[in-house]
Symmetry: C2
Subunit: 328 residues, 2 copies
């Protein structure tokens, strides 16, 4: 709990949050025996490597404790010095740090200033909880709840962040409603259409969310990037066609049984296939486009997606119904 | 890519997946010098601690490399032996492992069999990518896309997992539609209600998703558990009332301007407050109840939530409209 409050004091998720201060300084012209004496006095615990600095604190390299243990005490630190490939600075974001650790397979990363002076060390372990928090933040950003809201945040803090997005959602919902409005005369003629609207919107929203979730996660885990758009779209169109066909049969039969109108069943079956394909395409495109625009692929993605799937679902269903109104 | 295929060979996310095989064995009656000679020959890299076993391979403790580096070469390993507090076995799940690492603040955990024989070591680093994958899997489980689907999985693999949930969603959508059906005569009288239905459903769905996301993440990060239900519900009811009131005004004014019917504006304003509170309550309850039932709080949570928010939104809106039909 106190750890959490401490984290909150840093407005940004940058290296400063995760850095341990230096407990001791090690030099390249020290012997291994001398450096071990410094380590003993430093009270550092379970260290795996020591960072070596010059007289003016500039980082010159890393010495692994394993090499020190295996070396003679009078060996110079410079003899077993490794170059440091991954360094962070105070403004490195959490995401930069996670990427650095992933690429370099080290268990600590030194933080330096713009003169390459060593400021502190970031341990893998410090980032672990933070990385998990960051990884799960997408779920909140998708629906317009800010990543810094917690389960027990004060209501007014939550209201401030959520209400903006609810108003944006209201605008997009009016947009979807205006599409329904275009078909007012068809609906006035067949109220069954109004009853079935939530079915089309619900299916198309769910299918779109599936495509969105899988694509967004692929981007987050860096398994794909925006250059894979063609493969991802091909995949989602195929899935949309197959799932759409299957649902067209089930849903068509259900509607036929309920309404006793074969025409209405045909209309919803055609709409289901169209809506499933459109949902797959938009579910894949939304995070890809956000990512291409330099945004987090999660940002409001669910709100944007719902707008697209609602509008395309309503168009597909009410459009088909209007065209085929003679057979309903 | 090859790493991913390797992961797929393990059906379950258990310790076996993340374990490094033993490169060498260390004994308590060895001297530090002898153990270091074994370590040198083992070609292990950047080790922080060694695990010590008895003659029959039973784990007896851990020696930190730092202590070995600081000790005289003829010191016995038994003199600097630490007891091991955190051990895993082959069936420990990824979640167990993440919890173990979190609690014990070590960088490796030994895996033992039921006779306490040492089988291998799990490094923190091996679990890092896995933990991030697990943390982001919730987004997929929420909408009925299985956690093992990847952005470039074959379409048929995806269809198999997603289609089941789309059919379940179809059933719940018919349920929501049947609620709309109850008010068929009111809708036949005022088609404006059919046009505004997506607005109510959209708002209530979005607000519910916000509550769901924040609660689900709190459970995942273990900041809350199901015993906090009262606090979380209180928070969400307050948020629902405030957001509902704000949206009632905006949305009411919008509907008044569009429809020129003050009565319809009053109906949607009342519905908005009711729907926002219901959405907050259900968004918080769905993951809590799933968690209480021993399920992953993400499982199909979005599908369940949409059903509840659709039905409660339609009830609130069409119910109020029916009651107040004289003023519309």
């Amino acid at each position: 709990q106190s750890e959490f409050r401490e984290l909150l004091e840093f407005p940004e998720r940058t290296a400063g949050r995760f850095m341990d201060k230096l407990l001791a300084r090690y030099r390249a012209d020290q012997t291994v025996g001398e450096a071990l004496a410094v380590l003993r006095k430093s009270k550092a615990q379970r260290v795996r490597s020591l960072y070596v600095v010059s007289e003016d604190d500039v980082l010159v390299g890393r010495v692994d404790l394993q090499d020190m243990a295996l070396a003679e005490p009078d060996t110079l630190m410079s003899e077993i010095l490794n170059s440091v490939t991954a360094v962070a600075n105070l403004t490195s974001t959490e995401e930069d740090l996670v990427t650095l650790f992933d690429q370099s397979k080290v268990d600590s990363i030194p933080v330096v200033d713009h003169d390459q002076k060593l400021l502190g060390i970031i341990r893998y372990a410090n980032l672990f909880q933070a990385a998990e928090e960051a990884a799960t933040a997408g779920i909140q950003r998708m629906v317009g709840a800010s990543a810094d809201e917690r389960a027990l945040s004060p209501p007014l803090f939550a209201v401030k962040r959520r209400l903006v997005w609810l108003h944006i959602n209201l605008l997009t919902a009016f947009l979807a409603a205006s599409v329904v409005g275009l078909f007012e005369s068809t609906i006035a003629q067949f109220t069954a259409l109004a009853i079935l609207l939530p079915v089309v919107a619900g299916q198309s929203g769910n299918a779109g969310s599936q495509a969105l979730a899988v694509t967004m996660r692929g981007l987050a885990l860096k398994e794909i990037n925006t250059l894979h758009w063609r493969q991802v779209l091909t995949k989602e169109v195929q899935i949309g066609l197959i799932n759409g066909a299957a649902l067209a049969i089930t849903c068509g039969l259900g509607v036929w049984a309920w309404s006793q109108s074969f025409g209405l069943a045909v209309v919803i079956a055609i709409a289901m296939i169209t809506a499933m394909v459109m949902a797959g395409i938009s579910g894949a495109l939304v995070p890809m486009v956000l990512s291409r625009l330099g945004q987090d692929p999660a940002t409001a993605s669910s709100i944007i997606l719902t707008t697209v799937t609602d509008i395309s679902g309503f168009m597909a269903f009410l459009g088909t119904a209007t065209l085929l109104s003679s057979i309903i």
